[in-house]
Subunit: 898 residues, 2 copies
């Protein structure tokens, strides 16, 4: 055995495996000369010994007592002394933080005698008995095992406390008097006696050893073992036990307690920022009973302590090279640092601090990149509400519902319930929020016209969420508390009724739905990049953003492409750093004015000739769309997917719309209804869609290929380089791709001959069916590129309908059956294995195969790391996720480097 | 080069690679002393030489001419002789038969001079010119390449022929006179000249070499190359060219032509069976212009020829050790055998012949097993129509439609359109055919009551087809020509209207739907096995069946289990050889009288307590069902699947039924409608079903586990061995199974404690999601058995909804995109790979894992072979497929042995 007991002053951060995380941290601070309440650590070696033999190594007791003497000297008090009692805390501390381990026990050393000493020294009987009753309850719960395991059982001490409060007419704990608390101590002890048959140990040393034993036993507790299995933590690591002297900030007017950040956690500004209370315990700050003071005021009240604190804060930040969140207590004018840790911060602050620290020389660029969280970038990009105004609205009861924060940002507008109204109202100059039970491709125009989109159903990857993020629209989905009634043009939210035209505000970063109008403002980054209403010089936020992005670009290997259908979206994508278009959904182009009519005419045509006639009408529109994209993308690759959704998605379903359409097409409405009915599918997800359309109706793919290649030739002739890649969706068998590939190549030869120009193009496929991944070696014989459609791959491989999984998926995540929502982050064990296999097999056939991902996972940092790991060439995501993807890609490369 | 030209008399069946299949066959017969029209083969070596150099090897011409001299001598005629012309045929012949290769060219050697010789010798100008015009057209099409490639283009010779017929008012070719045909020869030659710029070659040797060259070129033709790629045939195999003298059966009254089988192809009886025509060509037999004579009559007309033929037939059958289909021609009293091949036969005949030949010592038992086709067993098992009666009905225009032959057998009954009526009418003693647009679990009772089931929609694995086969019901599905109208209680079929109560007959072996009543009779095998109306001694068919089955059982390694839910089904299954139950679908048990009400009450309950109360009512029913099964199965394993379908499948959807149910449950119908609506799913296949139900509503699995294990304990106490295996459906993640496994084991411990009895049981899972197969190593940590649900695995891995794929799957098979319907036969390249991976990974974790298949593929012979190959323990299928499975399993083992 290396060491059994280690004083804080003998430990440091390199001793992690010996003294655990907390011990190493306390040791590190002690050795920096920081005034940490003295203490010591019983090492993990003892834990291992204990696990094997259920006894302590020889000499442990002696060593603990020696270490205790050190602590007593430093604190000028004695453990168990009735006049001047030293009180201790005992905490577990494994190498990594482990929920499921033993809780902390505070105030060890109190008994009927020492409590009087404590009272005398603090002149505060209530405080003394409060500490005492807390000790007895904690000891009973944690050491003696009275804490109930099942949720529905009641803690015996809480039961007694509640009874006491009831008897006293007390609402909160603090309403109880010193005497009440003293009585509770007695009652608690009685409960322990009754339930365990043993009295509460009055001897402080018995208390101490009881607590130490409880920590070591907790390492083998059911929850801790389960947690280790789940997180692959070896049993041999063991836990350490930290024994530390208690200090109190409530020993009078020259005592205080507080929390401070070394920089502003909201803005990142380099300034001490914090709060404290004089003559108070840490809990009082949290409980919010007294309003805390700003840290600056400490400078006036206790100037020396403040100066010392300032120095310590600087030392800790410099030492840890990160913004610190520091807990401190002043006991009788003496400053104690209880804890320092990485300070939580907003996205703004995170980026500002990272950039500043590089400039200050504290960290290098690579470390700066690893310090920030990609998702926090959203905060730099999205329009935001005036925070104060929003909080006022919520506190005055205007919160209507909370949904999922599907499209970050803030939007206010008047509520409308259908796409046509959204477009119409916008034309009149109104700002609108489109509220739908759920959305479908028919709603695209309305979504585009709206400031924000709100749905009653659907999850983070529902149609509404997906399209909104791609469009950069604010979006809240799955607000289940709403009941939207299209017919009466209103929705109910709890007891309120909101009618068409009423103002509401939605916060897509938090999921809040608020009644009334709130002011919004676009982010500075957007003002610089897209609106050009600010220059880079005018915006510090932009400069921070730009700095991080350029460092990210220097360090990433993955390409970063965008999902975009329109020239305007493509232009935005380029502003956000897109190196290509990974997914252009052609079907979105079918929803403009005359186009949808022609498209419906195609669907409803009686025969191929009728379909061809209708498709001819669509050709010029598609060609124009593609030409626009090619011009904007100027030589960057553009992957265009041929028609994917089932045809019935393009037909109207309401009686009124059918009447109108039948009139337009000069067909009896009954015939139209019959046709709509005949196209209905039991499982549209697995139905007649994707390449199955282009194979059964080759004229559709022919038209689309012609439009793409015609546009490519025309743009090429203007001197712009063009690199189209034609992507065939939903391929399951190589022969499907072979069929469509042959067709595209035939059209290409015709178009090139007509124009006398040749354009480089590729034909490839989505990998969105398990069968495609499984037979990637065969498909790669034809496909020149693969693009993972991980949304559909997750649906099919897992048998999970995105639209229907709301009934069980949240429950699965809550129960821990699934670690996370597989639609948000790639399920590496399942879908990931399939992807890995696909990449291996595909490249075995075609070693230089271009492989990317265009599913929504392409914008998810954890999924991006996975994609980097399996060797993809690029990730493609919605334009507004691009900065996140660039950063995540850089982090993936840097993590691999380390 | 080994050999360039081989006379038939120098070749045999071992020379396959040198002379191809046809050459080897003709050589083999020649060497047996069979009078084959003499000829020779240009070897595959020449083909290879030609492919590399585009010229023939030195000396080929000389060798061909030498061989030709041999033929001329044997036939006593000369090639190109104007008086006594020898005519030749040229045919390609690769090692394996290859569609996509060159067609045959007949009558080579005819020109303006030799045709007169032919006419003189046959005394038949019409015949001479008919041969001649055929030669010119074939030569133009095949050798000179005038045969159109695209379907829509017209063959120039057919065009001229049609014009001629029109001009002569002729309906069929035979209406044309000798003179018409002579004119056509001239017109055909003119067409060749115009289109190719070259005249038709009058020189017979030019014709011969032209034909030979065309065969060799066709080896590199686009279709042949594509076929080789698809079937993995090496290019180096090459094709041979067979040159054979023509013989004619129309040279007078001492000439004839015919076809004969060495045994009766309908019954298998050991007797020569065939037809012939005097003074006729082979085509005349096929064209059906003259009624052919029975072979027996040849004995009277040409006794010597008949005797010779009888001897040859015996010799060929003995040589090939199988029933032969022999084509013969008698030219001027001389018998020529043109071809012999394995004779096609009915199932009855196939089995009879196999058993007879073993008794005769011609083949051994193993060979007998490999000779028969498992699917033909159906013919021995199904009730059948009186064939003559059926043919009369069809020829008198009573065929209403043709659908898919989903449930073999024959049934007549009065048509009804819903389940309730079917039950009601049956109670009145009526025989009914249940006709539905499609069926759902609600229809189970009606399907059970009906003689046969007919659906307008659905494929071979639709609900109707699946349940019908399991029940042994006659079934025709996907009869798309029907238009069923529930409201008016009738269906239209083309122009006829069939109303409720009208008699119809459906043939589930052919898919025919016929108006009116036809007589049926149960098969003899069924009468012995199930009805016991015949003893084994009374039925030859049964003895044949039993013989084949016992040989099969001696030779198979795969276990053969049945899918069955009811004791009666299980008893049938045992009669058919079941060794266990591979799938008991518990949901089918929820459709009896009170059960469905209790089950619906459970679904509609407001909370868990309500659900538990309703489930309590179901418990005794389920227990009774399981006890019944266990008793019948007596110790054989019984796999019971917990609830699988989505709950909405159990609720009514029509207005009327909802009214009734709401009344029964004392709830407002609007509430019921809202609940039904709220359970609606976009993609029910991927929705809230399978173990997802048991996880969200653990009380359902609890009740089912309790019912299974209670029943097991009770039956055990009666002294019967019980081996239940509880199967959790739709597991995608090991944690799902872990949850349900824990629950089942908890219930088991409770039940066993209550009964003081322990029962061996297993907990395992269906493998029906790709994710389950991919993570089989993890799932095997918990699962004690796997059972492949290949229907759903095919649906999810391929993204193919069984219910919706009718729009493209048939087109895919027709286009050759898929080699076959993946729902009928396991898609080995895709689903098969996944299964293989799953077996490997699963057994890596749990080497003794029991793995089987319970999807519909379990009864498909080709799929059974695959399951044998990847090492499954058993296949499970519907009871009536069991004999097929036993035989297929034996064949798989025997094929592997070889």
């Amino acid at each position: 055995m290396k060491k059994t007991v280690v004083l804080f002053s003998d430990a440091g951060r390199n001793d992690l495996s010996l003294v655990g995380g907390k011990g190493a941290n306390l040791g590190e601070m002690t050795n920096l000369g920081i005034p940490v309440p003295p203490g010591f650590t019983i090492s993990t070696e003892v834990c291992n010994f204990y696990q094997h033999s259920y006894q302590y190594p020889d000499g442990l007791e002696r060593e603990v007592m020696e270490a205790l003497r050190h602590v007593e000297q430093a604190m000028e008090a004695r453990f168990g002394d009735a006049q001047n009692p030293l009180l201790l805390s005992v905490r577990s501390g494994a190498r990594v933080s482990m929920p499921g381990m033993m809780d902390t026990i505070l105030n060890l050393g109190l008994n009927d005698a020492t409590v009087e000493g404590l009272i005398k020294r603090t002149n505060n009987p209530r405080f003394g008995y409060d500490c005492y009753r807390r000790l007895v309850a904690m000891y009973g719960d944690v050491v003696l095992g009275l804490k109930p395991i099942a949720k529905e059982d009641i803690d015996p001490f809480e039961e007694l406390l509640d009874a006491k409060k009831k008897a006293r007419g007390a609402e909160v704990d603090t309403d109880l008097t010193a005497d009440d608390l003293r009585q509770l101590v007695g009652e608690f002890k009685q409960a322990i006696k009754e339930r365990t048959g043993q009295p509460f140990p009055e001897n402080p040393l018995d208390q101490l050893w009881g607590a130490i034993g409880a920590v070591f036993k907790s390492w083998d507790g059911e929850r801790a073992v389960a947690y280790r299995r789940l997180n692959n933590i070896p049993d041999e690591w063991g836990t350490a036990v930290n024994i530390q002297s208690m200090v109190y900030g409530n020993m009078g007017e020259n005592s205080a307690t507080g929390v401070a950040f070394t920089r502003n956690p909201a803005t990142g500004a380099k300034e001490l920022y914090g709060e404290f209370l004089v003559n108070a315990q840490g809990e009082d700050v949290v409980a919010g009973i007294r309003t805390p003071l700003q840290l600056m005021q400490l400078k006036e009240i206790m100037p020396e302590v403040y100066a010392q604190f300032e120095e310590i804060a600087y030392k800790l930040e410099t030492h840890y090279r990160d913004m610190q969140d520091i807990e401190f207590t002043v006991q009788n004018g003496r400053l104690w640092i209880l804890q320092t840790r990485r300070g939580k911060r907003t996205g703004f602050a995170a980026f500002q601090i990272a950039v500043d620290m590089v400039e200050e020389g504290l960290i290098d660029k690579k470390e700066a990149l690893l310090r920030v969280e990609p998702d926090q970038l959203n905060q730099l990009l999205r329009p935001i509400f005036d925070m104060k105004q929003k909080e006022e609205a919520i506190s005055s009861g205007k919160l209507l519902a909370r949904g999922l924060n599907a499209g970050p940002g803030a939007a206010s507008g008047r509520v409308v319930f259908n796409s046509l109204d959204a477009v119409e109202w916008k034309r009149r100059g109104e700002k609108v929020i489109l509220a739908r039970i759920e959305t479908s491709p028919e709603d695209i125009k309305g979504m585009d016209a709206a400031e924000g989109i709100l749905t009653q159903h659907g999850g983070m990857t529902s149609h509404a969420a997906l399209v909104a993020r791609q469009m950069g629209r604010v979006c809240v989905v799955g607000a289940g508390d709403l009941e939207i009634d299209y017919r009466s043009g209103c929705f109910q939210a709890n007891d309120r009724v909101v009618r068409e035209g009423d103002w509401i505000s939605i916060d897509g970063s938090t999921g809040e739905v608020i009644l009334g109008k709130l002011d919004t403002k676009p982010s500075e980054v957007l003002q610089v990049l897209l609106e050009k209403t600010l220059t880079p010089e005018q915006s510090g936020t932009y400069r921070t953003y730009h700095q991080i992005m350029s460092w990210a670009d220097e360090n990433r290997r993955l390409g970063v492409w965008a999902n975009a259908d329109q020239p305007e979206q493509a232009a935005n994508a380029i502003a956000f750093g897109a190196e290509g278009i990974g997914l252009c959904r052609t079907e979105h182009m079918f929803f403009g004015g005359d186009r949808i009519n022609a498209f419906r005419e195609m669907i409803l045509a009686a025969d191929e000739m009728g379909r061809r006639a209708a498709l001819r009408k669509l050709l010029p529109f598609q060609k124009e769309d593609f030409a626009g994209l090619f011009k904007v993308m100027g030589g960057r690759p553009v992957i265009i997917r041929t028609l994917d959704p089932p045809l019935h998605e393009f037909l109207p379903h309401s009686e009124g719309e059918m009447q109108i359409l039948a009139g337009n097409l000069n067909m009896p409405v009954e015939d139209l209804k019959a046709k709509v009915e005949s196209l209905r599918e039991v499982n549209p997800m697995l139905g007649h869609r994707g390449c199955r359309l282009g194979i059964v109706y080759p004229e559709i793919t022919e038209m689309q290929a012609e439009a793409i290649l015609e546009a490519a030739c025309e743009v090429t002739k203007t001197g712009v380089d063009v690199n189209p890649e034609i992507m065939i969706p939903l391929v399951g068998h190589v022969n499907e791709l072979r069929d469509q590939d042959r067709l595209v190549r035939r059209i290409a030869a015709e178009v090139f001959a007509r124009h006398g120009v040749k354009v480089n193009y590729k034909v490839g496929t989505m990998i969105e069916l398990p069968r495609a991944a499984i037979t990637a070696d065969q498909i790669a014989e034809v496909a020149e590129f693969f693009s993972f459609g991980t949304n559909d791959l997750t649906q099919t491989a897992g048998g999970l309908s995105r639209d229907d999984s709301g009934r069980f998926l949240p429950i699965y995540v809550e129960m821990g059956i699934l670690p996370q929502d597989p639609f948000a982050t790639i399920d590496e064990d399942g879908i990931g294995r399939l992807m890995e296999w696909c990449v291996e097999r595909g490249r075995a056939t075609r070693p230089d195969m271009e492989i990317g991902i265009c599913g929504e996972h392409g914008g998810d940092p954890s999924s991006i790391r996975f994609c980097h790991g399996i060797g993809l060439d690029y990730v493609s995501c919605s334009p507004f996720r691009l900065p996140i993807a660039r950063l995540a890609a850089a982090q993936a490369a840097l993590s691999e480097e380390r």
